[in-house]
């Protein structure tokens, strides 16, 4: 009985709701669209305005670095009089593919992309290539040689190596062997691999000349703060006499700090018990910690240079000029001694200043 009655009962119950809900949904949508139109200066910019439109597709805005990069790109576009259409994929490669396709459909004049990793961006770059839209990768390169693209990337390897060399230099007076902990990033991200390799290269070279740096813990964080914190806590438990810590990104510093504080090992440089601490990125936390003496050095990616180069590359490609596949950002190591002199180029310091 139930079985035969079910479908018709449902059909009847549904209809007034369908009408009601469709009306309300369209109302809601209308409101949202209205707001969007006002905020964005009209979604129709791509179709009507004569200004060039740059699509900016970021994988995430979850760390300060990407937020700063995003702001720097928008500022650079504004300076040149370009309009910007922004899309954020929230860590979802599939969504990013759809977003890039949407940008292409809208007919943007260029795309600046931060892919999730070196592989998933393949279909996005191919789609842009097929549509003849210049596409430039910000800070993360692609690993698909067959496709036409330009990537503006920090020289992760050299910069981490230089940071490592500075830390090892500072470690000279410490008890040997110098037990060292390294926090690794997501190893699907070529930047993370190069930072690890750069630091390890510095260790290898120093050990040849008798520095006795011993890496006792390599913590796979997958760019996740909780994992980093748990890893540091465990490593400090297993090896309480760790004297040097290098993190592949400054955004993991708060995790390290809280683990060190819990272990009673968080002291500024010059005080007994100070652990040598080095990082990469140059964010606001790193700047503050450098100022307060808790952080010894960090490799700074020059976000402003990278943003400027991205937009420049799009302009050059549109003008039909030839652009190198990789535009390197040399970056610089910032430490206690050169802090005042170089903080103007350190994006973390600029965020703090604002």
């Amino acid at each position: 009985m139930i079985m035969t009655k079910a479908p018709s009962a449902i059909g009847l119950a549904q209809s007034p709701f369908t009408v009601l809900s469709s009306c309300l949904c369209s109302l809601l949508l209308g409101i949202f669209c209205g707001c969007g139109g006002m905020n964005a200066g009209g979604g129709g910019a791509a179709a009507t305005s004569s200004k060039p439109v740059i699509g900016v597709a970021f994988e995430t805005l979850q760390t300060e670095f990407w937020v700063a990069g995003f702001a720097a790109i928008k500022a650079e576009c504004a300076r040149r009089g370009y309009d910007v259409v922004e899309v954020i994929a929230d860590g979802d490669a599939n969504r990013q593919l759809q977003q890039v396709k949407n940008l292409i459909t809208r007919g943007v004049d260029g795309i600046i992309l931060v892919p999730k990793d070196t592989k998933t961006c393949g279909p996005m770059i191919r789609a842009a290539n097929e549509a003849n839209i210049p596409i430039v990768l910000f800070n993360r390169p692609a690993s698909i040689p067959a496709l036409k693209t330009v990537a503006v990337v920090a020289d992760n390897f050299t910069l981490s190596k230089q940071t490592g060399e500075y830390l090892i230099q500072q470690a000279k007076s410490l008890v040997k062997p110098v037990k060292t902990m390294v926090l690794l990033g997501d190893l699907a991200d070529s930047n993370a691999i190069q930072r690890r390799d750069g630091f390890e290269e510095a260790v290898k070279e120093a050990n040849k000349s008798g520095a006795e740096i011993e890496i006792v813990a390599r913590i796979p964080t997958e760019w996740n703060q909780e994992k980093a914190q748990a890893g540091v806590v465990n490593a400090l438990q297993a090896t309480p006499d760790i004297q040097l810590i290098f993190t592949s990104s400054d955004f993991l510093l708060p995790s390290i700090v809280s683990a060190l504080q819990a272990a009673g090992k968080y002291h500024p440089a010059g005080k007994p018990g100070h652990l040598l601490l080095g990082g990469f990125d140059g964010d606001a936390t790193a700047y503050q910690m450098l100022k307060d003496g808790y952080l010894d050095a960090t490799g700074v990616q020059d976000v402003y240079f990278e943003a400027q180069q991205c937009v420049q590359a799009i302009a050059d490609l549109r003008a039909g000029k030839k652009v190198d596949g990789i535009i390197p950002d040399p970056g610089f190591v910032i430490q206690q001694q050169n802090l005042d002199e170089r903080k103007a180029q350190m994006w973390g310091a600029q965020i703090t200043a604002k």
């Binding site: 079910a6 369209s26 593919l97 699907a188």
Partner: protein, 302 residues
């Protein structure tokens, strides 16, 4: 509802009607429809499958690991693409069967059974791949990802099959009966356990099939595939009108819900709304649909 959305938004959204954009919407909607159909079957039975996106990820990883040119077992084999198209639904179906056994025979609440299997599956997928995506898939496999109409056809065939299955088979009627009132169904002689287990099995199979499309579209197998898709899937089914309380639901409704979600996403994107506004807007819509569902449920009970 979809038509209303389309008409209202077409006026204020430039580029919505363009052919390229509609093809984009289609390539988003088709795999979503396949996943949503599976979720719908589970929801008609009165359950919910939260592990459906983890099933996607697991199937994607298994299939692409097998055929990747970076050391997969079947690397270079001419039938590698076919093997992947076979293995992904099989992996999905096995996972679904596991969920079904937990819910139907071990009497675990669907929410907790599938939530834990979601954590477990994402855990395995990330552990096995070291969180890396699996690339270098053969061209013959990727081919499917670049054919939106083939994908849409596949989704429609599955939808038609599901519609036939629900409307014209004994199992379909049992499924509705189970979702409406389990005790009554049991007394009327419905093999409740088998039917319930079967719903999860089919959901897993559908997710595995959708994994083929997602993997081919992205050209990589990903251990985090679909991590943000769960709300879209459940949202599409609920907006379509399938009841969260079980016993109600139709393929045509789900098709409408999927098109609505895909269009909504597209329109909000084309409107140049910030990423946070898109999330808020979708959240409000789904909340609203769920609210209507519970009102309808209360009224029909009264």
């Amino acid at each position: 509802m979809c038509v209303t959305l389309f008409v209202v938004s077409a006026g204020v959204t430039p580029g919505l009607m363009s052919r390229g954009n509609l093809v984009n919407v289609l390539s988003v909607a088709a795999p979503l429809l396949i996943v949503a159909l599976g979720q719908m079957l589970v929801m008609i039975s009165g359950g919910i499958d939260l592990s459906i996106t983890a099933t996607l990820a697991m199937a994607s990883v298994c299939g692409s690991w097998l055929i990747s040119d970076d050391g997969g077992w079947l690397a270079g084999a001419p039938w590698a693409a076919l093997a992947a198209c076979f293995i992904m639904p099989v992996v999905g179906a096995c996972i679904g069967l596991g969920n079904g056994v937990c819910v139907a025979y071990l009497r675990m609440p669907p929410f907790i059974a599938t939530l834990t299997s979601m954590m477990f599956l994402y855990g395995i997928a990330n552990w096995a791949t070291h969180s890396k995506n699996i690339g270098s898939l053969p061209e013959s496999f990727i081919w499917l990802g670049t054919r939106p109409f083939a994908i849409a056809a596949l989704a429609l065939v599955l939808a038609a099959a599901a519609a036939f299955f629900l409307a014209s088979t004994k199992y379909g009627r049992w499924l509705y009966a189970l979702g409406q009132r389990e005790q009554t169904a049991l007394v009327s002689g419905v093999p409740v356990r088998v039917v319930q287990c079967g719903a999860y099995f089919l959901a897993g199979f559908m997710a595995g099939t959708a994994a083929i499309i997602y993997t081919a579209q992205l050209e990589t197998g990903s251990p985090v595939l679909g991590k943000n898709l769960l709300l879209d899937v459940i949202g599409a089914v609920v907006i379509g009108g399938t009841s969260l309380f079980g016993g109600k639901g139709k393929v045509s409704w789900t098709l409408g819900g999927v098109l609505f979600i895909a269009l909504l996403d597209n329109v909000l994107n084309l409107q140049n709304l910030s990423h946070f506004a898109v999330g808020m807007c979708k959240g409000v819509m789904i909340l609203f649909a769920a609210l209507l569902d519970s009102l309808r449920h209360r009224w029909s009970v009264e």
